[in-house]
């Protein structure tokens, strides 16, 4: 039988994010394995993965994606790692009229107006991150928040989503600080936030939303915000970064995935197999990659034929099981709605990293994720 070709288009060289891509690809392979019961076949056809490197360059990404669709004649493609690169890839899917599953790039805009009906997105988006983060703070009128984010679209959009989630709860934003990307010294901004918060009555929180390095939380923590009764809050992170969270015992926030927090059959298999094969638990891009693969498997199993339009039809509104529970492709913009984890940091000297202990799972329905575009219209 003809193999079913799937292209994995990720950044594999040229940036330190290449490690994320590798997690996603490992996850994808595991997902195929799990989804096909180890046969690696769907409807009797073997699955062939074609790996492409975007080199983290949008132009390269466009070329290799076009190549995958045009020359390798893949059925669909999965990718890419960074949002900028992925934005560049969107029109190629439309041009070739083939499906692109976005994983693990996060930006909301990937399912926004510039997107198109060939795009499905299994990765969570920034709105989910920030809304979950807001919910994890249990906002009420007593809450005062100062936000710290990087000064570009990602940071500003994130804070906007956060604010909209606080709307109506009575919580107040006392100041919004935006730092240039790549900032490493946060003293000045911390002073500004301290000055804005210190005389407020009630719960005082500094919300940190910085994707890059710089270790803003650690540096602000070192200035001992606790002397003003100020807490720090931020989202979770990948395992290699979690050791630095040991400095924030008791901190609450929200994250996309932590291997111990989700209790389901898929996750149990993933954790067991991953630990067996790689001697370490799966990280969150691994889970993401697996979710994407499981979506593909389910769609291919269910679709009557593999014409793109049929596949789109199959996938719109489709729900499937993933390591983090059930996900559903929203028909309007093809974003997969999914649960998030509200955690509290626990420090255990026997574990290398700080453990984001489950407080609760924030169900997808609880979050009001704006619809980016309407593919139905």
């Amino acid at each position: 039988e003809d193999p079913i070709k799937i292209a994995l288009v990720h950044g594999l060289s040229g940036s330190s994010f290449e490690a994320f891509s590798k997690q996603a690809q490992t996850g994808f392979e595991l997902g195929i394995e799990y989804g096909t019961g180890g046969t690696n076949e769907i409807n009797g056809r073997p699955i062939e993965l074609i790996i492409k490197d975007t080199q983290f360059k949008p132009d390269v990404a466009r070329a290799v994606l076009a190549e995958a669709y045009g020359d390798d004649e893949v059925l669909l493609a999965v990718g890419a790692t960074s949002s900028g690169v992925t934005v560049g890839m969107l029109p190629i899917a439309e041009e070739y009229e083939k499906i692109l599953i976005v994983e693990p790039a996060v930006a909301d805009s990937l399912t926004g107006p510039d997107s198109n009906r060939y795009i499905f997105k299994t990765s969570r988006n920034s709105s989910m991150d920030m809304q979950a983060q807001a919910l994890a703070l249990n906002p009420d009128a007593n809450l005062h928040v100062a936000t710290l984010a990087e000064d570009y679209a990602f940071g500003r959009d994130g804070i906007a989503a956060f604010k909209s989630a606080l709307d109506g709860s009575g919580a107040k934003i006392v100041t919004e600080e935006y730092v240039p990307q790549g900032t490493t010294d946060f003293t000045a901004y911390a002073e500004r936030m301290f000055n804005a918060l210190k005389d407020k009555e009630g719960r005082k929180v500094i919300l940190i939303y910085i994707a890059g390095g710089g270790d803003a939380p650690g540096k602000i923590q070192a200035m001992e915000p606790s002397r003003y009764g100020i807490e720090i809050s931020m989202g979770g992170h990948i395992l290699p970064v979690l050791p630095t969270y040991k400095r924030f015992p008791g901190m609450e926030g929200a994250v996309y995935y932590y291997f111990e927090a989700f209790d389901n059959e898929v996750n149990a298999w993933l954790v067991e197999e991953h630990t067996k094969r790689f001697d370490s638990p799966p990280d969150f891009f691994t889970a993401g990659g697996m979710s994407a693969a499981l979506a593909v498997v389910k769609a291919l199993k269910e679709a009557p034929d593999y014409e793109t339009d049929t596949l789109i039809e199959t996938m719109e509104g489709m729900s499937w099981d993933t390591p983090k529970g059930k996900m559903t492709f929203r028909p309007e913009d093809h974003q997969a709605l999914q649960d998030m984890l509200h955690f509290k940091i626990k420090v255990d000297d026997a574990v290398d990293w700080a453990i984001p202990e489950k407080v609760r799972i924030i169900p997808a329905e609880e979050m009001n994720i704006p619809i980016g575009r309407d593919n139905q219209g």
Partner: protein
């Protein structure tokens, strides 16, 4: 006066242009066409950088900035005004305008200071523009960049020639569609800009640039206003880089920091100009071709090599496709070390001796 080395270099360049001219017919896969278009753009970009570094001896790290101005000019207007030729032309003009303003400001302000300080100032300026592009995301799309549509002529669905049934005519198996038109737009723009630059370097103006590179004080003493010439060539090369940016933006239908502004592109340009050979123009062509082929195909080659080596210790590790940049770096060092004049320069000098 033509020696064999020079002859070989010039023949290869002409051959390269011939291959580029027939690329859509010779290599009928998607990636090849992308690669060919990218080569065309970078030939112009690298050659315009060579005007600075190779001919005049000015080290600037702001070349991608100008490239970016051109690209963003077209991109922003195509996005806001919709596809068409007017936004392309206006965008090109806007890009050139902004580039000129920056080039003149930087030039007048700092072409008098030590060469190395100038390099650092351009580096700083470029990095500020890069961050600004990501901060002004309403206009520039920020980190994610902008996608937009090119003029209708370049739509893949556009039929350049139709047969009796109204289907696209195929010539040697190639569909005569908008994609082809877009490629030839890129190719001929690049060719024209390259020829213009060839003209520049052969003119009296070009010889003055070389004189400034060789001995600035003496050039001034025999009557050339060095600062004026430097500023002029800085503006000139900025203009050409900006135009190249516009063409690339039209081709890619996407513009973002990583395709038009990032420091990685600057390094690519440097690598290309050095590998090809500075101060020759021909070198730009050779450098751009080799580097881009490496970027797109070295990985694959290494993957194959790595697989072939399985079993042998260490080698497969080092040949792992993701380490291709490592090898590129080493090749680059060896080139600078053993062929300081680059491929074209070395070939031409070798011909001189022979």
């Amino acid at each position: 006066m033509q020696n064999t080395g020079t002859l070989i270099v010039k023949t290869s360049v002409i051959l390269i242009f011939a291959l580029l001219l027939f690329a859509p017919f010779l290599f009928q896969d998607v990636r090849s066409l992308e690669v060919a278009a990218r080569i065309c753009i970078f030939i112009v970009l690298v050659a315009s950088f060579d005007l600075l570094i190779g001919y005049t001896g000015i080290v600037s790290f702001a070349h991608t900035m100008f490239f970016g101005f051109g690209a963003y000019g077209a991109a922003i207007l195509l996005k806001t005004m919709g596809p068409g030729w007017t936004p392309v032309i206006l965008g090109a003009l806007a890009g050139v305008g902004v580039s000129l303003v920056f080039a003149i400001a930087i030039g007048l302000l700092s072409l008098r200071v030590k060469a190395i300080f100038f390099a650092m100032i351009t580096l700083a300026a470029a990095s500020v523009v890069l961050v600004l592009a990501s901060q002004l995301s309403q206009i520039t799309g920020g980190e994610d960049g902008i996608i937009y549509k090119a003029p209708d002529l370049f739509k893949p669905a556009t039929k350049l020639l139709t047969d009796a049934d109204g289907k696209v005519v195929r010539l040697w198996g190639v569909r005569l569609n908008g994609k082809l038109a877009a490629y030839y737009f890129v190719f001929f723009c690049a060719l024209a800009l390259f020829l213009v630059m060839l003209r520049f370097v052969g003119s009296p103006f070009g010889t003055v640039l070389k004189a400034i590179r060789e001995n600035e004080a003496r050039a001034e003493a025999i009557g050339y206003r060095v600062v004026a010439y430097r500023t002029a060539v800085f503006c000139l090369s900025a203009t050409i880089a900006s135009l190249a940016g516009t063409v690339y933006a039209v081709w890619l239908k996407y513009t973002g920091p990583d395709t038009a502004l990032s420091f990685a592109i600057m390094i690519d340009i440097l690598l290309m100009v050095v590998i090809g050979g500075m101060g020759t123009m021909w070198g730009a062509v050779i450098g751009a071709v080799l580097m881009i082929l490496a970027q797109y195909y070295l990985r694959d080659l290494m993957g194959a090599a790595s697989e072939a080596m399985t079993g042998i210790p260490l080698l497969p590790e080092l040949l792992a496709p993701d380490r291709w940049l490592f090898w590129l770096g080493i090749i680059f060092i060896l080139l600078v070390y053993f062929f300081p004049k680059g491929i074209a320069g070395t070939a031409m000098a070798w011909g001189e001796k022979a």
